[in-house]
């Protein structure tokens, strides 16, 4: 019987939640790396037992941990992230230029085919790659050549937080940076193109339609249709049907189009999920109600999913990396909150139940569907 393994990164450690395909009864393991911030923990699609975790604190800096047994045991691998050449400068909050400084790893994305190849999105924004299971890291510096001097940190820092690997074209990768925008490579990471046409940032940028500088919060795609991208921007939910060549807004009837995560149903490429947040200055769900919004039409027409979610006095946020889906026949949707709850739906979002109530603030959620 298939099973699922939910990988949860929190402010104070990692947790691994497991269940069989019914997803009713859960085993909770952790905390792993207690006391450390786990920005991301992710598994290799090519080897389910190979996991990578980004572990950091302000005191001791960045570590990368690797497991070869599905998270039972871990070993630290290389944590040396050195920018290629002279790092140069980017735009600072006040518009002046500021040196590039490594702070932490936000996102770890293992290759779709090779467990030893893994990409790391870091703050200050850059993309690194390891081809030896995390034993060494090299920057793909062409990304920062894509107008990097104009990139500027968002409130959470200048982080490369999203990495999407194209399952059809191995040379194509999409990434997103706050606050620089979305970028694409078609040559395996050598050269990069800003893909931000159609985005409008009327309140954030002097030129609302600039090539770079947009505060993209998250990207998602369905593996069967990698040219169709969905984006949760700072404000606005967006869609592109040409691999980022042009974006158009699909916020439609949402109560607010500010938010962080966006996810696509495992079997329905036009079914997408977001969690609207009240505003950029009030990072919690509107009206005290935790509602996931689902569109079955690829955007514009949204329905609130509330069954099993708190509908009063709830003021949590759901961060950009904290929503994921499994690939079981009845698709499971999962998300974690800043209040420490991890919710799961085993029926595409119709009904929800908490897996755990009281973890530290959840930074990331990933799901592995195990045979």
């Amino acid at each position: 019987m298939s099973s699922v393994r939910v990988l949860v990164g929190t402010r104070k450690g990692a947790f691994i939640l497991t269940s069989n395909a019914r997803r009713k009864k859960w085993d909770i393991n952790g905390p792993y790396f207690a006391g450390w911030e786990i920005y991301h923990i992710n598994g290799s699609p090519a080897n389910h037992d190979r996991l990578y975790a980004s572990q950091s604190t302000g005191w001791f800096g960045q570590l990368i941990q690797r497991s070869d047994d599905g998270g039972k045991t871990w070993e630290p691998v290389d944590n040396k992230f050195v920018y290629d050449g002279t790092p140069g400068t980017h735009k600072w909050y006040d518009g002046t230029q500021h040196p590039w400084e490594f702070k932490r790893v936000w996102n770890l994305q293992p290759s779709l085919t090779d467990p030893d190849t893994v990409y790391a999105g870091v703050e200050d924004a850059a993309l690194f790659r390891s081809m030896d299971g995390g034993k060494s890291w090299q920057e793909l510096p062409g990304l920062r050549s894509a107008k990097g001097d104009l990139w500027q940190p968002g409130a959470g820092g200048m982080c490369l937080h999203t990495i999407l690997l194209d399952p059809v074209n191995p040379e194509r990768i999409f990434i997103a940076i706050s606050a620089a925008g979305a970028f694409r490579t078609d040559d395996g990471g050598g050269s990069w193109l800003p893909i931000n046409q159609g985005l409008k940032s009327n309140f954030e940028l002097p030129d609302p339609t600039a090539d770079v500088g947009h505060c993209v919060h998250n990207l998602a795609m369905h593996p069967s249709r990698p040219g169709v991208l969905f984006m949760q921007k700072h404000w606005d939910v967006m869609r592109s049907d040409d691999a980022g060549g042009m974006w158009y807004e699909v916020s439609g009837n949402l109560p607010t189009d500010f938010g962080f995560p966006i996810a696509v149903h495992a079997h329905e490429p036009e079914t997408i999920y977001i969690v609207p947040i009240k505003s950029d200055s009030e990072h919690f769900v509107p009206d005290g109600k935790l509602r996931v919004y689902r569109s079955r039409k690829g955007g514009n027409e949204w329905e609130a999913l509330t069954e099993g979610l708190p509908q009063s006095d709830c003021y949590v946020n759901v961060l950009r990396s904290a929503m994921a889906v499994d690939t079981l026949d009845s698709c499971g949707i999962y998300f974690g909150t800043t209040g420490g709850q991890v919710y799961a739906s085993a029926d595409s979002g119709d009904n929800w139940a908490p897996i755990v109530h009281d973890l530290p603030a959840v930074l990331s959620v990933e799901v592995q569907t195990l045979p």
Binding site: G35, G58, W59, F60, G61, L63, N79, K80, V82
Partner: protein, 98 residues
């Protein structure tokens, strides 16, 4: 032998106790102690000082003999009592927050 005391997070990372003993060849300085520490426990590289510049991380402090030595030059010899192991060289996570 030099005696080095580690904060709890680094003890767990290095899978060691509160104190570790190290052999340091040549002058006993902050740098030579940390070189020996990182040689014995490679997983600590980058957690106390920068990989490349070797600068102490901002929230790490070094104490010995009741003194805060954090701002001393890293290649200045430490007191004899540290060199002969009667005093511990303490790596401390700075107090922050509230």
């Amino acid at each position: 032998m030099i005696c080095v005391m580690l904060p709890v997070h680094l003890q767990r990372l290095a899978n060691t106790g509160r104190e570790v003993e190290l052999q340091v060849d040549g002058p006993v300085t902050q740098s030579s102690i940390l070189d020996a520490l990182e040689a014995s426990y490679p997983m600590l590289r980058g957690t106390i000082r920068d990989h490349v510049t070797k600068e102490r991380r901002a929230f790490i402090r070094f104490f010995a003999c009741g003194e805060d030595l954090s701002l001393e030059q890293p290649d200045v010899p430490l007191p004899e009592s540290v060199a002969n192991g009667t005093e511990r060289f303490m790596v401390v996570g700075a107090m922050a927050g509230g």
